[in-house]
Symmetry: C2
Subunit: 349 residues, 2 copies
Amino acid sequence: MSDTVLSSLTNHQFRLASRPVGLPTRDNWSATTEAVAEPEDGGVVLQTLALSLDPAMRGWMNEGRSYIPPVAIGEVMRAGGVGRVIASKSPHFAVGDTVIAGFGVQQYLRLGAAEFKRSGLVKIDLRMGSLTQWLNVLGMPGMTGYFGLMDVGQPQAGETLVVSGAAGAVGQTVGQVAKIKGCRVVGIAGGKAKCDWVVNELGFDACIDYKAGPGAVREGLKEHCPKGVDIYFDNVGGEILDTVLARINRKARIIICGAISQYNATTAVAGPKNYLSLLVNRARMEGIVVFDYADRYHLAVLEMAGYLKDGRMKSKEDIVEGIAHFPEALLKLFNGENFGKLVLQVADE
Amino acid sequence: MSDTVLSSLTNHQFRLASRPVGLPTRDNWSATTEAVAEPEDGGVVLQTLALSLDPAMRGWMNEGRSYIPPVAIGEVMRAGGVGRVIASKSPHFAVGDTVIAGFGVQQYLRLGAAEFKRSGLVKIDLRMGSLTQWLNVLGMPGMTGYFGLMDVGQPQAGETLVVSGAAGAVGQTVGQVAKIKGCRVVGIAGGKAKCDWVVNELGFDACIDYKAGPGAVREGLKEHCPKGVDIYFDNVGGEILDTVLARINRKARIIICGAISQYNATTAVAGPKNYLSLLVNRARMEGIVVFDYADRYHLAVLEMAGYLKDGRMKSKEDIVEGIAHFPEALLKLFNGENFGKLVLQVADE
């Protein structure tokens, strides 16, 4: 690719056109194109290969204070991804290097040296994991699951861990690492196929299908967590959080990683009615934002790449092809249609 | 009192007659009398001098799982108190000793040696604090405030602490200890008199009157916590908890000690709608039950008795006289009428 003629390329992008009320629609996006320019001195031009589609993206579309600023109207939608250096005037990157970065929902990204750090530009080694695994267990979701579990959850062998969104990117990491650390692991996921996969392929002790009918989670927890719940890793919020709160043990840890059931709510977020279970059980509910652990990502990557290599961890990605399908692909997260880490393949490897 | 003729005494008691729906009424109690018997070998007979009336008592009246079993129907209502040994066949207690114990709402308590531990029977030294201070800052509320603040809150000098129920028994301890530890301390209390007292007498930096009108807490936090909230000690739950959650800082600690706004609710408890602020701010919400710290009570008592002695801590008790007034006295907690630690004086010192 060293002789790519940049001026011949067109960069297709998705920009935020308006802030959604409820689920994002086509109208919230504008598809734009731009020319691709030569890198500036010290900079690079990257081609997007695959983008990570994550529930957190819904939050970035809202106005208002959060852990990072919202995406501005008219801005290219924020998204992490993997890609390749196609032009370089940087001593640190060569054409052909594979990297992760905050690409945004677009085919090309031109970065000056001063922007490398902010965009999280880092070379990756495809011998440690595949391109899509670098967006999954070795990427942001994997880091989120790993540090949320280990730092906030502090799992002890023999404890019972429950994780919602068990078949999702974060959930599969959390459950598999907790198994390796000696926990009894019970997943919560939507539908028999996901539950079967989580148990049969990932080795969870059990998985509760929350779509199996009213009371399914309550009954499932009773059956599969006979000694109560010591750690709950929550990706969903809402009723499931409340149901688990009613089953926690003394000194339980509840990791608040997300609340996908609430992200598109057009009414007020449903607060956990059973939060006083924290008092009765001297338990803790704590939020986690992955960026806080950036200086330790490499350690978690090394550890989990080892597990992938020796077969103790598996990963599953749900790959949608073509940047044009971004708006519909994103919705799969919110109707629970994705099976495994949702990835948008933008170009061939 | 060594020649008290026990058989001449009548023990007036309040027993739980039925479980309240909403606020307890007279009908939920039955007033009974019993004769007082001689102590068994190794046992004692105690006279109740004063009882501690606490919000937690409302929870004990409900059926169902909590951190301690509910009071059974027909049982003498559970209450901690201070009293005096009036007859003793124990080598550990002499007639005239002043003690704290789980007296129950009654005038006399006969305890066998095997029951000493369960009832929390301990001699107290009135040189360290007055009788009613032993129910306040040196008693359960003081221990709750001290260990909730120090162990869960982990205050650092320069941080901002907010405490609700600021003029109550737990709140006055929390705020004063936090001031001594170098925090900026902002109370939330109901009414100008309580707020003035908390600021002028206890030395809080500010106090927000939540009864001052809609938006008073939100505006008050904005004004008095310009650098946000690092620690919130919550005694009330409900809307105030939600309002504070919207103002917390990164790595904030929220101590869930109680939820007096919810104890008499006849509908579902209102969960904190803003709980996702925990995620955004990597903050922690954690419950505390004082009994977990029993083996360190003596250390907290020593420390706080020192503060009382050197004038760095003050205490205020709201004393209702006469066991017959127990049912009405208890209600003062729930309409916010008590000003300071609510105590039921049962006999003269």
